[in-house]
């Protein structure tokens, strides 16, 4: 009960602040829409040449948006909102020094982590609906199991929040550090993960390298379920890699928070 109450309080607080800063909310919506449209139309151009003949009932644009939606969502939208958002939340707490106030209070580290996770889950779910709603204008459909798709999205959010926690507590001391961190670690991983350029055009050595990139497994797993109607068996390698990574990130996030407590827990 204590954890539940504290988790809700932290999540509610983050969401209130987000909704109050309407500009941020609009940007979180514009970003995935813009990316989806760009990816969708680029894919559509390629699909006209290579894919359309294989699918009798689908237009090239529909196919393109069915392929663009999952990569845009887990590869890019959730990355910036959940990972970037988590780093920003932790760094803002440190800069406003409200972390100190939380240290004085009986708030547990678990609740704090879960609160940030729940808040970013809400944002992630909102972005998922948005991306698939826009994709549905081109008659794109979610081909596979909705439950499996939801689990993949959830595991992706957990992974991003976990990484965000590690970066926010250990590496980003000030708001200025966030851009540098995202540019250094994030953008190369996003490209390698197939968020902007489809992985099927990667040379073999990049594909080999991509198997170490969790974003690649997120996009491939969701792409398989969403666009190709695959089940767990077909995407098992990507799914279990993602599952393992999510668990690892929960552990790493938790350890990072404990370390931050040891180092910074004083007035």
């Amino acid at each position: 009960m204590k954890y539940w109450r504290e988790t809700l309080a932290v999540a509610q607080r983050i969401l209130i602040e987000l909704f109050r800063r309407r500009r941020s909310l609009i940007f979180w919506s514009v970003f995935p829409i813009a990316l989806l449209l760009l990816n969708g139309f680029i894919f559509a151009e390629r699909a006209q040449q290579s894919m359309a003949f294989a699918f009798e009932n689908a237009t090239p644009t529909t196919l393109a948006f069915e392929n663009a939606a999952p990569t845009t969502l887990v590869g890019a939208a959730l990355f910036f909102s959940c990972l970037g958002g988590t780093v920003t939340t932790v760094v803002a707490e440190r800069e406003q020094q409200t972390l100190k106030r939380l240290f004085i209070s009986p708030l547990s580290g678990t609740s704090y982590f879960l609160g940030i996770f729940v808040a970013h889950c809400c944002i992630g779910v909102g972005q998922s609906f948005l991306v698939y709603a826009i994709a549905s204008f081109w008659k794109a459909k979610f081909q596979g199991s909705l439950l499996l798709g939801a689990i993949i999205i959830l595991l992706s959010i957990i992974s991003y929040v976990g990484v965000g926690f590690v970066l926010g507590t250990q590496l980003a001391r000030r708001a200025d550090d966030i851009n540098a961190l995202v540019a250094t670690f994030g953008v190369p991983l996003l490209i390698l993960g197939g968020a902007f350029i489809p992985s099927f055009i990667f040379p073999q050595f990049l594909l080999n390298l991509a198997t170490f990139d969790p974003i690649y497994h997120m996009t491939e797993a969701l792409l398989g379920v969403s666009a190709n109607g695959n089940g767990l068996t077909e995407i098992s390698f990507h799914f279990w890699f993602l599952f393992g990574f999510a668990i690892l990130m929960i552990g790493a996030g938790w350890l990072s928070y404990r370390r931050m407590l040891r180092v910074e827990r004083r007035l």
Binding site: K2, Q12, R20, K100, R265, R266, L267
Partner: protein
């Protein structure tokens, strides 16, 4: 209410607290004074269970300090640690939730706290739109929202204008009347004089003087203090020694401790032949005691 017995704390080789003993009774305002680096913040960190003491005992309301005692302490730190994007009400509601208050109690407590710090009319304003004094009052309200038994106010009026300072003082008096025990740290000695029933002066991690103001005044063997401005300081000091007055320099001021109260004309007569630009008499204040026990005043 708060009992600290023989607390020791070191950071590496530097000992910050040395056998610190301190007791605050229920419903009392205790002023903890001391120069920067004396160990005030470390003491607060230990009371709040943010730091562990190397040795010694500390009890709050007869319970050893632990995560559990966090709920009976309210802390208003030096900085206003508030969520700038949330309103006053939302800030209070968030912390009330963290401290486990149920919805109905929470709503009532939030309104009570806003009323106590005169912020009811700004309940829905975001923190970033408040003045410095209002933010400081809200900072204190956050410390009170879960109805703590012990409130720690860490330099609550530093950086505020005199009007805002009076408002905070009034609030602190109100809290005391409600039976809340308060540990107040401050560098403003007149603040401690006005508000505290008991004062402790910390130096190098030890309490070097403690008591009520009249008790502390007894540490200075004088009835009153005379400060003078003169170009002939050495002559004035020599005369004071002849007369049995103790002298001290408080900053740029030369002061003499008078063992007996004297008329102004008697004081002037005592310094006959020495040109005095100004002369003033004052009772023994906390400032003099503080400077004496922390050895920041210089003299004999």
């Amino acid at each position: 209410m708060l009992l600290i017995e023989n607390i020791n704390k070191s950071y590496g080789k530097r000992q910050v607290l040395q056998n610190l003993n301190l007791q605050i009774n229920f419903g009392e305002i205790y002023g903890l004074l001391g120069p920067n680096g004396a160990g005030k913040t470390t003491t607060i960190n230990i009371i709040c269970n943010l730091l562990k003491a190397d040795s010694g005992n500390i009890k709050i309301n007869n319970q050893p300090v632990s995560e559990k005692t966090k709920s009976i302490i309210g802390v208003a730190p030096q900085e206003n640690l508030l969520y700038q994007g949330l309103s006053c009400k939302e800030n209070l509601d968030f912390f009330a939730q963290i401290y486990g208050l149920r919805r109905k109690v929470r709503q009532l407590q939030v309104d009570n706290c806003l009323a106590a710090v005169n912020l009811l009319d700004r309940a829905n304003s975001t923190v970033e739109t408040l003045s410095g004094g209002m933010k400081r009052r809200l900072n204190i309200a956050v410390a009170l929202v879960h109805q703590p038994k012990l409130v720690i106010l860490d330099e609550p009026t530093t950086g505020l204008d005199i009007e805002a300072r009076y408002e905070i003082w009034e609030l602190i008096r109100k809290l005391r009347h409600q039976g809340i025990t308060i540990l107040l740290t401050t560098h403003l000695l007149d603040e401690a004089e006005r508000l505290c029933q008991k004062i402790g002066i910390l130096k190098n991690g030890q309490i070097v003087a403690e008591g009520t103001l009249p008790e502390l005044q007894k540490l200075i063997p004088a009835k009153e203090i005379v400060t003078v401005q003169t170009a002939e300081e050495e002559k004035a000091i020599a005369r004071a020694i002849e007369l049995g007055f103790i002298h001290r320099h408080y900053g740029n001021e030369l002061a003499f401790w008078l063992p007996e109260s004297l008329e102004l004309k008697e004081i002037i007569a005592a310094f006959d032949g020495i040109s005095l630009a100004s002369i003033s008499r004052q009772p023994i204040k906390l400032e003099h005691i503080y400077l004496e026990v922390t050895k920041q005043g210089t003299g004999d």
